[in-house]
Each structure stands twice: as C-alpha cells, then as structure tokens.
C-alpha cells in the first residue's frame, strides 16, 4: 500500500468501516510511513478538539425564548409571532 492508497482508505479507517485484511495493510503502512502516521495522529486530534469544545452554545434563556416562540407559532398555525419579532424582513445582516 502506498500513501495515495492509504489516503483513499483514511475515512473508512477512522470510522472503523474497514475489512480486517485491509486494516492489516493500513497498519503496516502506518508503521513504515512517518508522514501518514503524522496525518492520522493530527487528523484524529483535529476531530477530538472540535468534538470536545462547545463553541456554539445556545444559552438557556435564548432556548426558552425560542421554544416559546416556536410553540406559539405552532399553536396558532401562523407566522404572526415571527412577523411581530422581525418587522423589517428585508433588513441586511452583513
């Protein structure tokens, strides 16, 4: 297995969706190729760092406000709540 063939299997390798024979080839390649070993290690760290950090939190008070607005719209079956909240629908948000 060369580096290009290894790269083609990287997603399956990370996701544990690789058959045992191919897995042995992948591991053998990793033992002999430092560059690919670094790519695996740092890609795994990339995923772990993103998964370990809640960088887009929804504060409780905002969640409660949103839920109330959603349920109000659902109960009346219309867009009145949203229309009341955003009287200027064409306003730019850039």
């Amino acid at each position: 297995m060369n580096c290009t063939e290894f790269l083609a299997k990287l997603t399956d390798y990370f996701d544990g969706q690789i058959d045992p024979d191919l897995l042995a080839e992948v591991k053998q390649h990793l033992c002999s190729c430092h560059h690919c070993e670094v790519v695996v290690d740092t890609t795994r760290k990339t995923i772990d760092i993103y998964r370990g950090h809640e960088h887009y939190d929804l504060p409780d008070d905002v969640a409660t406000r949103l839920r109330s607005a959603i349920m109000e719209r659902c109960k009346c079956g219309c867009d009145e709540t949203k229309a009341a909240k955003t009287p200027e629908p064409t306003k730019s948000r850039h």
Partner: protein
C-alpha cells in the same frame, strides 16, 4: 507516538441511541404530536433545539440567522408532521430541514452566487496533505478558552459550506455516515469523500497553531490573522 487505533467506538455510541430493534422513543412523541398533543411536540423541540441551532449556526455563521432558522425548522416540521413516516430518525429529518433552510438563507445573503452542497467542493485544496509537522502534546492547552474558541471558529468558517456541513454533521453532531448522507441528500461515497477533505483541510489549517516548534501563542495567532 501512540499506536493508531480506530475512533469508531466513540462515533457509534450516541446518547440518543435506543436498544437495537427497539422503536425509537421519538416515534411515540411524534405519534402523540400528530394526534394534536402539542406538549409532546414541545418535548421534541426541547430535545433537538440545540442540535438544530448548532447545525444552522455552523452553516450560516450567523447567530441571528440560526435563531430564525431554528424557529422555522420546528414550525415547518410541525406543519409537515404527517409527511414523517418514521423511515429515518426524527432528528435526521429535522436536520435535513435545517440544512435546507440554512442553505436557503445563505443564498439570500449572497445573492450573486449560488450556494449549495456542491459549492466549492471541486477545490483541490486539502485533498493531499502537505504539512507533516507533529503537533505539541495537548496543543489546545497552550491557548486560553477564548483564543481556542476563536481559532476553531475561524478555521471551520474558512471551509466551503459543503465541507463545513459534512464535518459538522458527522464529526461534531455524531450523525452516522448514512444519516449524514440522508440529511444532505448525498450518496454515502460523496459524504466520505467530502468528509476526508474537510478533515484534512481543518488539520492543515490547525497545524499552523498546534505544530511543534511554532511560536508562542500570541505570536502564532498574530501571524495567522
């Protein structure tokens, strides 16, 4: 360096996974909601509002848009509950609505350009690794929480929407590859291809901050602005 191991175990066990073969608990809530029980629907909103908000925010990169989209997603889901047949998870169905709403919002914002799951995915950037520097141990600890949050936000925001969305659903929201494909209307091979390139592009960009021998934290951030 530690021997490579699969991370599949982390990815497969999601907190919401019911026992194998057992009906997903959401189905009972959906049935009650279809029968007019708004409290059951409110429970579903409570369960998934954060996931839908995060998904919308990752795609649009705009909190106000994400709040509006979260409202619209649940309102549309409520109106179209009869169309949900239970062939997929309810959460996957919601995510698909959220992705569509978010992409529509991006299209409105960028009127000169078409925004879709296919936008910019033909780029070759990141398809082949170029940076082979090892990272420092626990590299994120060299930054304050605020600095790290800014690095992660800026790095993922730089991905094309098609890559950013796949990475968000698969690696942050823990959807399976099949669920991600279903939510995005893509084939499984297309998801795998985009996921690989998204992961490699993020790795390459984060390496500027986390590699061994990089400058001090403030200096690294200054150089990469």
């Amino acid at each position: 360096m530690a021997a490579p191991t699969s991370i599949a175990d982390d990815l497969l066990d999601t907190p919401e996974s019911p026992a194998p073969d057992a009906p997903h608990p959401d189905l009972a809530l959906v049935a009650r909601a279809k029968a007019g029980d708004t409290a059951a629907f409110e429970q579903l909103v409570k369960q998934y509002e954060r996931q839908i908000f995060r998904t919308a925010l990752h795609i649009t990169q705009n909190r106000e848009d994400a709040e509006d989209i979260t409202q619209d997603v649940f309102f549309k889901a409520f109106q179209k509950l009869d169309q949900f047949q239970g062939n997929s998870k309810f959460s996957t169905w919601l995510v698909r609505i959220a992705v569509n709403e978010s992409l529509m919002r991006l299209r409105k914002r960028k009127t000169q350009r078409t925004v879709s799951m296919d936008q910019d995915v033909e780029t070759e950037e990141g398809a082949i690794p170029r940076d082979f520097a090892e990272w420092r141990p626990n590299p994120e600890q060299n930054y304050s929480q605020a600095e790290l949050a800014e690095i992660l936000r800026k790095t993922i925001a730089g991905l094309p929407p098609g890559f950013r969305t796949v990475f968000t659903l698969r690696d942050i929201e823990n959807l399976s590859t099949e669920e991600t494909a279903e939510a995005l209307g893509l084939s499984v091979p297309a998801v795998k291809s985009r996921l690989l390139r998204a992961r490699l592009q993020l790795r390459e960009r984060l390496s500027r901050y986390f590699r061994k021998g990089s400058e001090g934290t403030a200096e690294a951030m200054r150089l990469n602005k």
